[in-house]
Symmetry: D2
Subunit: 292 residues, 4 copies
């Protein structure tokens, strides 16, 4: 099985590396040269263009930054045009539902399999091959690439036969993260109004009711006021909240909390905080309360 | 040490029972007779009135339903008036910050110690003596009742010298629960718009990013559409969101998400869902999306 | 017909003066002496206490600052207790629906007529006897005081047989004012993001689609950034938005826009703007956009 | 002066007719033939394609339905490509700021003048030549077409040298309309909770504080529950609220009320009300309150 891997960013590189370690033959491509060379040093065949990388591939895995990067590489970069009929494209990026629907149609028209498989988990989880994979698309196709997914993740959650179903679920999950951060922000602003230490409060809730990874991770940043380096940038969080709302509105689902969170994110950008970690969203609640 | 225990509801009764089991001498009182007799059968001395119960007590523990019940028993029911100088009143109910401040002043004026110690945990946790206790008030006073708190809970979180600090923290925690439920509701409405099974989605998120008690508990109810019997009624959830917002506005802290949640709760009441479990808040997101 | 007039503030004084000019015999009372004396100089009989003022009165008109002032004067100040059976109390203040319901019951129990008649219009309108009067209560009672209302206002809008109906309508109108100001604030923040002059934009909309008194008045303040002296203080605006939401929630009506506005008002207070004119609510939109 | 007029819809047709009546030579084009022939019967030279229509024109006026129609005609339909250097394109449609910026750049690159001039006013106002015109772009260019604008409108409001400034202002105005309707909806839900007649309440506020065209027009529809035929469809209102928010977020301006309104519009669509008049947005407030 010949695999092409497009997008060797912080997530893609360790994922591709895990496939190589598991014995797969991988052609790797990335826009910038550094990661390409890094992967080559692990045994991959580097490719100069994405179109080169996918030539002759049985499976293409892509995990590109966003809709624009995906469009630019897959459509304008001729990846789709170069794929041989019967090949499978496994798109693991967090993209819009609109693009997922469009890609599914374009692949179908060329008789290329298309699966969506965005992931939950940060870099260290990707390195450990312990991602949670949200998969959707034709189940027979999925069965063919399942061995690859088993290398990359601890579990594959199958969400339906239409690829965009996985993207909708991924965006819903990211909206929930935004909501968790935003709520912690308001709760902390409230208790700080009573001079309760925010570190004490965060410790309390993340040790009890909210003893979950999301709350612990972002909570620690809020408690310590340390938002750099960014694990996941606030500006990307805004992008995902927008994509979640767009996905929802596409099927006439109103999301009032998402709307409230969106305004808070934009306010963060207006105060030059888009480059900070997503946890910095909590600063908006504090700023509104005159606590900054 | 003579203890009076006021309020033998679903939480109060097992808490008082634990104190008796631990060897303390407890005078128990409840508005209705049933729980009084139940506690008496465990070895407590029942009292006909709250004022009777607290006569001669060194420590009064109260955990009454809400502000009105607390006012009615402690102030109008002459509990405060009957307490001997030097006694300590440990108020474990979820009450407003306003009332906490007022009670602290009234107790101080009569030279009675006043501590706030609302709890996190449901009935089974109370029975196991594993509550998390949010305590605030004079630390020397707290030290005196710490042995009692150690019987009732697994940990006491000390949040400050002013009693209302614990109430503010408790209300902030409850607001976060409302937000978790509300966000799950919108996320589920989004994925249902794409025909992703809500049970699958809830399973996914509560097994990964949101593997926390709050999400698991309420998530299960949402996934199964089972909202009765209510573990905690939606109408009480609205009360707590209001109290959280009131507490915040008292110190000029705006809470946009709380405002959004509040409107959703009121909408639930307008559709006769106040008696359902708090998880039924998720129905509002579905209703707005035309999914019900 | 003997009239007692309680509350000689900026609105009450010119209203009482108009009654005197129309030939009515008026006993006037105000907490502070200045307005009492002013009214006396116009021919009123001043009274030292509110209870004195209403003794023997056929009609009591009260327009006190808020719920607290109304409670303090009417209930604790023994106004109700002093009224003779068959007298009519015309309450023209903007009070809560809760208090309106309570007052209606208490008056009924003592066989005193009770009418709610809050007004639309500022001081100059009151002086000109051109107020719009929102009236509710028993229509036969209202007919008896209609000649007085005709002195005070240009039109009486009858809204129903229960007094609180007029209060609900008045609060709904004030919510709409808040919404108009808040919307202008966001619209202005948007166009300022494109360097359109806010004075030009305000001039445009208030000369065309929104050529209404509310938009013109508050718009001019926003355009010129002049928020002092306050025609109507922002902090009072918050009070009315709260009362509107309270009234709505009393009958299970959710108000999402009101919730959004409420958070904006609280944010104004957190930035020490409560004493400014209500138009200063627009500053919150600008602040959030980083434009201040 | 040779004029091409693209887009002969409900607004465009009477505008083009007014230019003909004023003695101008007009080439008219519309996608569907009906309006083309109607205009021809008034003396215009009909054109089969938009590109034909603009050949040799000194001024092109376009008022196409939305961004898609504008892109399709102006860019893909070769209008821009056919214009002679030095010609002026006056775009009177309500389009996005993004497209306005893009069109300005594309026209500049070809040495074609580009002005934005969206309008306020419905069909009858267009027929009467009484529109309010929001204009932006180079002021020297604007001076050249001012005689045309004077035929079409009662006043031209000049908002700045960059075309998108007029589009931002137009979207801000439309957001304010949405807000006015949404606020009336919540206010009416509140008073209906107290059994105040909504017709009475609407009559009251639109005769006093809110005696403005927007409130009167939409208010009457709300009061009478008549939402068909639609003067302006709710679904188009949603489009404009989105464009307003997009324009705002492009320059990092958060709009909380717009977010709240957006959710309400989507809820309307979820309940099959997108084809109704914009006033039907008020139904969402009633539905949430259980009043429908």
């Amino acid at each position: 099985m010949k695999i092409a891997f497009l997008g060797l960013g912080t997530m893609g590189l360790p994922m591709a590396a895990n496939l190589i370690k598991a014995g797969y033959q991988v052609q790797g491509w990335n826009r910038s040269a550094g990661p390409r060379e890094k992967l080559a040093s692990l045994g991959a065949t580097p490719a100069k263009t994405a179109a080169d990388a996918v030539m002759g591939a049985d499976v293409v895995i892509s995990i590109l930054a966003d809709d624009n990067a995906t469009r630019s590489v897959v459509l304008e970069g001729n990846v789709l045009a170069m794929l041989k009929p019967g090949a499978i494209h496994l798109n693991m990026a967090t993209i819009s539902v609109d693009l997922a629907v469009e890609l599914a149609q374009l692949h179908r028209a060329r008789n290329i399999g298309y699966l969506a498989a965005p992931v939950l988990g940060r870099v260290n989880v990707a390195e450990a091959g312990q991602l949670n994979i949200l998969a959707a698309g034709d189940s027979a196709l999925l069965a063919k690439v399942q061995p690859l997914l088993d290398v990359l993740g601890q579990k594959t959650w199958y969400l339906g036969a239409r690829p965009e179903q996985a993207n909708a679920a991924k965006l819903a999950a990211n909206f929930m993260i935004a909501s968790a951060i935003g709520s912690m922000g308001e709760a902390v602003a409230l208790v700080q109004g009573y001079e309760v230490s925010k570190a004490d409060f965060i410790d309390l809730i993340t040790s009890t009711l909210f003893a979950a990874p999301v709350y612990k991770g972002y909570g620690q940043a809020i408690a310590s006021d340390i938002f750099e380096p960014a694990g996941f940038k606030l500006a990307l969080g805004l992008k995902d909240v927008r994509l979640a709302q767009d996905a929802a509105e596409r099927v006439n689902v109103p999301m009032a909390i998402a709307g409230t969170l969106r305004a808070a994110h934009v306010e963060s950008l207006a105060h030059d905080e888009g480059h900070l970690d997503w946890a910095a969203l909590a600063r908006t609640a504090a700023r509104r309360a005159g606590q900054l």
